[in-house]
C-alpha cells in the first residue's frame, strides 16, 4: 500500500521529468528514431548559392540522374498553395519560382532511396541566376530603400518633447544586438506516412502541431481533417520549431502523397542553421532624458530588426521588443517605434523571449548610460526608475503594472549576493590590478505573460479514465524538454488525488486536441494545465454525483483523498469507484478547455492589456576580464526568480538555470557572422559557440522566490517560467561593461555591442583608451 496521506507527484513538489529514465537510457524516442516502414524514401533540400537573384532557369537533369534519386520536387509539384506563411501574409513559398531572396534558400527537394543519395544529388543542380544587389542587415536595408516586411508598431504615452525639455540630461546613442541560433540538439525533422483518400500522417518535431497540420493541408489543397500531426517529444525547441517546421512537414507530405510511400526529411546541421530562422538582430537607437537623480523623464527608441526575406513571426516579435523596452522601468513620456526590415537573409523567427530580450537589453543599456553619466551605482538608478504606485505604474502600452514585486526581490538578492560590499571590493581590486579587471551588475527582469495575439490564449485537453482506474492524459501542448507533460500530469494527479504513475502521458496529436496554439510564449503549463484541470474536474464531478447517488450522501460528502474516495463515512479505493461508475454507465472521458481571461489588445491604438500578469526575476553577476586579450570568466552569479507558487520547483529551477546560460551565451560567445556574399559562416557548433559547462559561473546560486504567489488565478497560482529567466543573462553583459569601463575610471559608458565576444570586449577597451 502506498502512503495513505499523500500522492506521488503532487503539485508544488519536486518531481523528475516523466521521461528522465528514457532519456538516460537512450530509449526516449525522437522522430528520427521511429522505425521506418519498408519503402521509406528520404528527402533533402537543394538551396540557392546566392543571396538575391532572379531565377532564369534551373537544370535539374544531373540531380534526377544521380544514383538512388526517385524524384525532384519543385513548386510545380505542389497540389495546393505554394505558401507556408504562418501569419497568412502569403510571402513565404515552399519553393520560390521567380526569385531567391537569401543565400541557402530552399529551391527544390530531392527524393531518393537513401538520405545520403538525396543529399549528394541536391548539390548537382545547375541554376542560372540573374544576380541582384543584396542587403543583409537593417542598416543596409534602410540605406537600400528596402521595405518593412510587416507593419511597424508605435507605442506612445505622454509627450517626449516636453519631457526632454524639462530634463537636465539627455543621451542619444545606438546599440547593435546580435541574433542567436537556437542550436537545439535535435535538428528539424519530419516523417510523413501516406494514408487512404487524402490522408497523411506527419511525425515531426514541432512546437506547433496544429499550424503544421494546417500548412500541410494548405500545400496539399485538402481539408485540415485529412492531416494528422504527431509530436511525442522534441530534442529542444526554444522557438525555433514554432513555425520553421512547416517547410519540412510540407515537403515530406507532398512527396509522401505523390509517391504513396513514407518520406522522411532531416537536414544536416549546416542546412538546419542556414535554411531556418533565428533570433532577430536589432539596431537600437535610444534617446533618453533624465534628471540629476537619474530618474528618466523621456525615452524615445527606434528598433530596427533584421527580419529576413519574409514576415514569418517578425510582426509579433518586433512588437514584443517594444512591449519590453521598458523592462521594469516607468517612462513618464515615451515614444517607441519598430522597424521590421526586410533583408536578404533567412527569415528570422521566434526564439525564447520573442523579441522581448532585445527590448530589455535596450532598457538596461539606458540605465547604465545614466549611471555612468551621473557617476552613480547603476543599481541605484534602476531602483529610482522601477514601476511604483499610482501615477508611476503605466506601461508604454497603457497597461497598469499591478503585481510588481521587484522591490522585495531586488532587496533580497542585493543582500544575499552582498552586492554593495562586493562592488566596493571590485572597485578597490581594479585600482590595483593592472591587467585583470572585474565588474559586477545586478539586473532585473519583468516579463509580460500571454500571447499578444489574443486568440492564441486558448488550450484544450482530453482525459480518459479507463475502467481499471488508469488515466490517459492528452493536451495540446508539446514537450520539448521543459517538463510540460510532467507538470500537467501533476495537475491531473492532484485533481483526482491519484499517484502520478497512474497517469499515462501521451504524444501530442492533432487527432485528440484540435486547433491548438503553439507551445510558446512560456504559456505551456498556464494554458494546458488549466485545460487539463477542466477535463479532470468534469470527470470528478460525474464521479462525485454517481458516488453520492449510489451511497445516498450529499455531493459535499464525497471527497477525493489520496488514491481513494471518501463517500460519507466510507472510503472506497479509486479503482473500485471507477469500476462501479463504469458499470453504472458514467461517462469517464472529457475534453477540457481554457481561455485566458481579461486580456485585450488594440494594436492600431497601441493600447490595451495584452498581458495577464508579469513574471519577475533578477540576477547579479561578477566577471573578470583580461584587458590584454578581452578574454573573460564569469566568477559568480546569484539569481532570485519568481515563478509564483511553483508547480514543480526542481523543474522550474532547471528552466531558470538553463535560460540564464542561454541568455548569457546570446550576449557573449554566440555570434552570427555573414560574409559579404550573404553566406552565414557560423552555421554549425564548430563555428557557432554556445556555452559549455566550463562557461558556467564559477559560483552559481539559483533560488526561486518561494514567497511569491501569482495574484491572478492561474494554474495553482504558478507563473510561466520558459522565457523570463532568459534575460537574467543581461547581468553578465553589464558586468563585462563595468570591467571595461574601469579602464577609464568609470567615467564613460563603454560602447559595447552584443554579443560581447572577447574581441568586442578588447575593442571596447581600446576605444576607451585616453578617455579616463
Amino acid at each position: 500500500m502506498k502512503d495513505h496521506q499523500t500522492i506521488s507527484g503532487a503539485v508544488h513538489h519536486d518531481r523528475q521529468h516523466d521521461s528522465a529514465i528514457k532519456h538516460v537510457t537512450g530509449r526516449a524516442e525522437y522522430t528520427d528514431d521511429i522505425a521506418e516502414p519498408y519503402g521509406t524514401l528520404h528527402a533533402y533540400l537543394g538551396v540557392s548559392t546566392v543571396a538575391h537573384a532572379n531565377i532564369k532557369g534551373i537544370d535539374l537533369s544531373a540531380v534526377r540522374a544521380a544514383p538512388g534519386v526517385v524524384d525532384v520536387l519543385t513548386a510545380d509539384d505542389i497540389p495546393g498553395v505554394n505558401d507556408i506563411s504562418p501569419t497568412g501574409k502569403h510571402d513565404e513559398p515552399v519553393f520560390p519560382t521567380e526569385k531567391v531572396e537569401f543565400h541557402g534558400q530552399p529551391m527544390f527537394a530531392v527524393i531518393a532511396e537513401t538520405r545520403d543519395a538525396a543529399r549528394r544529388a541536391a548539390e548537382l543542380a545547375q541554376v542560372d541566376y540573374e544576380v541582384l544587389p543584396h542587403a543583409l542587415d537593417p542598416v543596409q536595408a534602410q540605406e537600400a530603400g528596402y521595405p518593412m516586411i510587416t507593419d511597424p508598431l508605435k507605442l506612445e504615452r505622454g509627450d517626449v518633447e516636453a519631457g526632454r525639455k524639462d530634463a537636465p540630461h539627455r543621451i542619444q546613442a545606438q546599440m547593435t544586438v546580435g541574433g542567436q541560433d537556437h542550436m537545439y540538439l535535435e535538428g528539424h525533422i519530419a516523417f510523413a506516412i501516406p494514408g487512404e483518400d487524402e490522408d497523411v500522417t506527419v511525425h515531426c518535431s514541432t512546437q506547433h502541431p496544429s499550424e503544421a497540420q494546417h500548412m500541410v493541408a494548405h500545400v496539399l489543397g485538402v481539408a485540415n481533417n485529412a492531416v494528422t500531426v504527431n509530436v511525442r517529444r522534441m530534442g529542444g525547441g526554444f522557438g525555433g520549431k514554432e513555425s520553421q517546421m512547416n517547410l519540412f512537414c510540407a515537403v515530406a507530405a507532398i512527396a509522401a502523397k505523390k509517391h504513396n510511400r513514407p518520406v522522411k526529411i532531416r537536414p544536416d546541421r549546416d542546412q538546419d542553421m542556414t535554411a531556418t530562422g533565428k533570433r532577430h538582430d536589432f539596431v537600437i537607437d535610444y534617446d533618453v532624458a533624465f534628471d540629476d537623480a537619474g530618474r528618466i523623464q523621456a525615452v524615445e527608441g527606434g528598433f530596427a530588426a533584421r527580419c529576413g526575406y519574409s514576415s514569418d513571426l517578425s510582426g509579433p516579435v518586433t512588437d514584443r521588443a517594444l512591449f519590453h523596452a521598458d523592462n521594469a522601468y516607468f517612462y513618464p513620456n515615451v515614444l517607441l517605434k519598430s522597424r521590421p526590415m526586410k533583408t536578404n537573409t533567412v527569415s528570422n523567427t521566434a526564439f525564447r523571449g520573442f523579441g522581448g530580450p532585445q527590448g530589455v537589453v535596450a532598457a538596461e543599456r539606458m540605465i547604465e548610460e545614466i549611471a555612468y553619466a551621473l557617476g552613480k551605482d547603476p543599481l541605484d538608478v534602476r531602483k529610482a526608475n522601477f514601476y511604483g504606485e499610482e501615477g508611476r505604474d503605466l506601461t508604454p502600452y497603457h497597461q497598469k503594472v499591478e503585481d510588481n514585486i521587484l522591490d522585495r526581490l531586488i532587496t533580497e538578492l542585493e543582500e544575499n549576493a552582498e552586492y554593495r560590499k562586493r562592488r566596493e571590493e571590485i572597485i578597490a581590486f581594479n585600482k590595483d590590478s593592472k591587467i585583470i579587471k572585474k565588474g559586477i551588475a545586478l539586473t532585473p527582469v519583468k516579463f509580460g505573460i500571454s500571447f499578444t495575439a489574443t486568440w492564441y490564449n486558448q488550450a484544450g485537453s482530453l482525459i480518459h479514465v479507463y475502467n481499471d482506474g488508469s488515466i490517459h492524459l492528452n493536451h495540446g501542448g508539446t514537450e520539448m524538454g521543459q517538463g510540460l507533460n510532467t507538470k500537467v500530469a501533476q495537475v491531473v494527479a492532484d485533481a483526482f488525488q491519484v499517484d502520478f504513475e497512474r497517469i499515462k502521458i501521451t504524444k501530442t496529436t492533432t487527432e485528440k486536441v484540435p486547433n491548438t496554439s503553439a507551445t510558446a510564449a512560456s504559456s505551456g503549463s498556464d494554458l494546458n494545465g488549466m485545460a487539463a484541470l477542466d477535463a479532470a474536474e468534469q470527470i470528478i464531478a460525474r464521479l462525485t454525483k454517481f458516488a453520492a447517488e449510489k451511497h445516498g450522501v450529499a455531493e459535499a460528502d464525497v471527497e477525493f483523498l489520496p488514491n481513494r474516495v471518501r463517500v460519507g463515512s466510507e472510503e472506497i479505493p479509486f479503482d473500485t469507484l471507477v469500476k462501479e461508475a463504469y458499470m453504472a454507465r458514467v461517462h469517464l472521458s472529457a475534453a477540457g478547455f481554457y481561455k485566458t481571461p481579461e486580456i485585450h489588445w488594440d494594436r492600431a491604438a497601441g493600447k490595451g492589456q495584452p498581458f495577464f500578469y508579469y513574471a519577475y526575476g533578477a540576477s547579479c553577476s561578477e566577471v573578470s576580464v583580461d584587458t590584454l586579450t578581452g578574454e573573460y570568466r564569469v566568477e559568480r552569479t546569484d539569481i532570485l526568480h519568481d515563478v509564483g507558487r511553483s508547480l514543480n520547483p526542481v523543474l522550474d529551477k532547471g528552466q531558470v538555470e538553463g535560460a540564464f546560460i542561454q541568455g548569457m551565451g546570446w550576449l557573449t560567445t554566440e555570434e552570427l557572422w555573414w560574409d559579404g556574399e550573404g553566406r552565414l559562416r557560423t552555421h554549425a557548433p564548430s563555428t557557432y559557440k554556445i556555452p559549455l559547462a566550463s562557461d558556467r559561473p564559477r559560483v552559481f546560486n539559483t533560488q526561486l522566490a518561494e514567497w511569491s504567489v501569482n495574484k491572478k488565478r492561474t494554474i495553482k497560482r504558478s507563473k510561466a517560467v520558459g522565457e523570463p529567466p532568459f534575460m537574467l543573462g543581461i547581468s553578465v553583459f553589464e558586468a563585462l561593461s563595468m570591467a571595461v569601463a574601469s579602464t577609464a575610471d568609470y567615467k564613460v559608458c563603454p560602447r559595447l555591442d552584443a554579443p560581447a565576444t572577447p574581441e568586442r570586449v578588447l575593442m571596447a577597451i581600446e576605444t576607451l583608451k585616453g578617455q579616463g
Binding site: 537512450g26 540538439l185 544536416d268 573578470s624 554549425a684 557548433p685
Partner: protein
C-alpha cells in the same frame, strides 16, 4: 599473405563480423541505420556536440582501455579489433540503471534528453578513469558535450555524485575486463585488411613497414589517423577520399619516448596518450593541452594528424615550432627529418612527397634559462578553434635574451615564426623595453585575415599583447594576476 577482406569487432559485448565495409561509413550510421541502436544521436556530424558519444575499448600495449569518442566522425573500418559500447549497454539485464544514469536522473540532468546519452557516455568514461573527479575535471571531461537546455549545472552535480551510486569495480567493463581482453586479442588482425568497393576502399596496414608498402602502391591515398579532420571531409563536404589508409592502430606509430634530450612522439599518438609525457617534459603545455578540442576529439586526434593536415589554425604546430620541434617523414626505403616550420610551405601545401607519411615528432627539452609559454585565444574558452595561438620560447642568460623562438597560428596561411619579434628580443636585456619592441615588431610580421573567428585588427592586437603578457607573466617585478585563473 592473403589480405583480410572484412573487419571484426565487438559491439556491446556481441561479436560483429562485416565482410565488406566502405571506408566512409561512419560508426554512427552503422549504429543507427544498420543496428537500430538509436540511443546514440546525431547532433552535428562534425564532432562538436557530443550527442553521438560512445566508448571504444582498444588494446594499448596489451591492456584494454575505454575512451569516449564521437561516433559521427569515427569510421567504422577503423574499429577493427575494438569493442564499441553504446548507451544501450549500460543498464543491467534487469533494467537497473547504471550509476551514471541513476545520478543523472536523481539530479535532473536531462531536460529535452537529446544530448543526454552522449553526456552519460562521457561521464561513464570519466567515472571509470576517475571516480571522484573535481568540478574542473568534470568540465574538462564534458568539453565535447553540448547541452542547450540545462545550463549544465545539474549535469555537473550529477557527475560529482556518480560514485555514490556505484563504484567502477562492480561495473561490467571491469568485471568482464579479462574476458573482453581475451576476445579482443583473438580478433586482432594478422594480415593487412583491404575492404570496401574500389571507389570507397579502406586499407588497414598490418604494421609500419606494411604502411610504407601500401603508400608506395597508393601514393594518392588519404591517410587517416584520428579522423577528427578527415571525418568532416566526408560528413560535411561529401568528398571522395578513396583509398583510405587507416593508421591509428599501428603500434609503431604510438611510441612515446622521453629522454634527457627530447620527447619523441609517434605520429599515431593521440592528444590524450601524449598528455602525461607532455606534462612531464613541458609543464607549460599542460593547461594548453586541455584546451585542444573536446575530450572525445583528444581521444581520437593525433599530433601527427594535426601536423600532417597543414592547417594554419591547428593548435599544436605553433607551440611545437617555438620549442624547436622536428618532424620525421618516412616512406618505403627511407626517412628524413626536417624542422617543423619547414614542413609548412603554403596554405594547403606541405613538404610531403608521394609515399611519405609523418612518422614522429621530436621536441627538444628546454635548456637552462629557457622560458616557454603557450597561448590560445578563442571566442569560447574550451572546444573552440583558436583565432590566435602562440608558442613563445625565450632563453635568458645573465639577464640577456640569447635566443627567441616565437610562432603563431591563425596569423598567416601557415603556422609561422615571428621573425621581426624574435629579432627585436635577441641580444636585448630582459625587460619591458625589449618586449614592447617585440610587441610592435610582431605587427609587421603578419598580415592576418578577418573571418568569423576574429578580425584582422583583433588578431594583430592580440598577438602583440600576448608578447606583453609573456613579459608580465615571467617578470619578477609584476604585481597581480596577468591571466585568468582556470578554476
Amino acid at each position: 599473405m592473403a589480405h583480410q577482406t572484412g573487419i571484426r569487432f565487438l559491439l556491446n559485448g556481441k561479436d560483429i563480423v562485416l565482410d565488406d565495409v566502405k571506408a566512409t561509413t561512419t560508426l554512427l550510421d552503422f549504429l543507427r541505420l544498420e543496428q537500430r541502436l538509436t540511443g546514440t544521436k546525431e547532433g552535428c556530424a562534425e564532432g562538436d556536440c557530443g550527442a553521438c558519444t560512445v566508448l571504444v575499448g582498444r588494446l594499448q600495449n596489451g591492456a584494454l582501455r575505454y575512451e569516449a569518442v564521437n561516433a559521427c566522425i569515427r569510421f567504422l573500418a577503423s574499429l577493427n579489433g575494438c569493442h564499441v559500447v553504446t548507451v544501450e549497454h549500460l543498464s543491467g539485464p534487469n533494467g537497473r540503471l547504471h550509476p551514471v544514469q541513476q545520478a543523472m536522473v536523481e539530479y535532473h540532468g536531462s531536460q529535452c534528453g537529446f544530448c543526454t546519452p552522449g553526456f552519460v557516455m562521457s561521464l561513464y568514461a570519466l567515472w571509470m578513469e576517475n571516480p571522484q573527479p573535481t568540478e574542473v575535471e568534470v568540465e574538462t571531461a564534458v568539453q565535447g558535450n553540448l547541452c542547450r537546455c540545462t545550463g549544465y549545472e545539474p549535469i555537473v552535480k550529477a557527475a560529482l555524485a556518480v560514485n555514490q551510486y556505484g563504484t567502477p569495480a562492480n561495473d561490467y567493463l571491469t568485471t568482464e575486463r579479462d574476458a573482453l581482453t581475451a576476445r579482443l586479442k583473438a580478433i586482432q588482425p594478422k594480415a593487412r585488411v583491404v575492404t570496401g568497393p574500389e571507389d570507397d576502399r579502406a586499407i588497414l596496414p598490418l604494421d609500419a613497414a606494411d604502411l610504407a608498402e601500401v603508400l608506395a602502391e597508393n601514393p594518392k591515398a588519404t591517410i587517416v589517423a584520428g579522423s577528427t579532420d578527415v571525418g568532416l571531409w566526408v560528413t560535411k563536404f561529401m568528398k571522395p577520399i578513396s583509398p583510405v589508409v587507416f593508421v591509428a592502430h599501428l603500434e609503431e606509430l604510438k611510441a612515446v619516448e622521453l629522454t634527457d634530450d627530447a620527447l619523441t612522439i609517434g605520429a599515431g599518438v593521440t592528444y590524450t596518450e601524449s598528455e602525461a609525457a607532455i606534462r612531464d617534459a613541458f609543464p607549460h603545455l599542460s593547461a594548453y593541452w586541455d584546451r585542444i578540442a573536446g575530450w572525445q576529439v583528444r581521444n581520437m586526434g593525433t599530433i601527427g594528424g594535426n601536423i600532417a593536415n597543414g592547417s594554419p589554425i591547428g593548435d599544436t604546430p605553433p607551440v611545437l615550432i617555438s620549442l624547436g620541434a622536428e618532424v620525421m617523414l618516412q616512406k618505403q626505403g627511407g626517412a628524413r627529418t626536417l624542422p617543423l616550420e619547414d614542413f609548412f610551405i603554403d596554405y594547403g601545401k606541405q613538404d610531403r612527397e608521394p609515399g611519405d607519411f609523418v612518422a614522429s615528432i621530436r621536441i627538444p627539452r628546454p635548456v637552462a634559462g629557457q622560458i616557454d609559454a603557450a597561448y590560445k585565444i578563442s571566442k569560447r574558452r574550451d572546444e573552440d578553434i583558436s583565432s590566435v595561438a602562440a608558442g613563445v620560447s625565450v632563453t635568458v642568460k645573465d639577464g640577456v635574451i640569447t635566443s627567441a623562438r616565437i610562432a603563431f597560428g591563425g596569423m598567416a596561411a601557415t603556422p609561422k615564426r615571428a621573425a621581426g619579434a624574435e629579432a627585436a628580443l635577441v641580444g636585448q636585456p630582459w625587460g619591458e623595453a625589449a618586449f614592447d619592441a617585440a610587441a610592435e615588431a610582431v605587427k609587421q610580421d603578419f598580415t592576418p585575415l578577418s573571418d568569423w573567428r576574429a578580425s584582422a585588427e583583433y588578431r594583430a592586437l592580440t598577438a602583440s599583447n600576448l608578447l606583453r603578457r609573456f613579459y608580465l607573466e615571467h617578470d619578477a617585478g609584476t604585481a597581480g594576476a596577468v591571466r585568468l585563473a582556470v578554476a
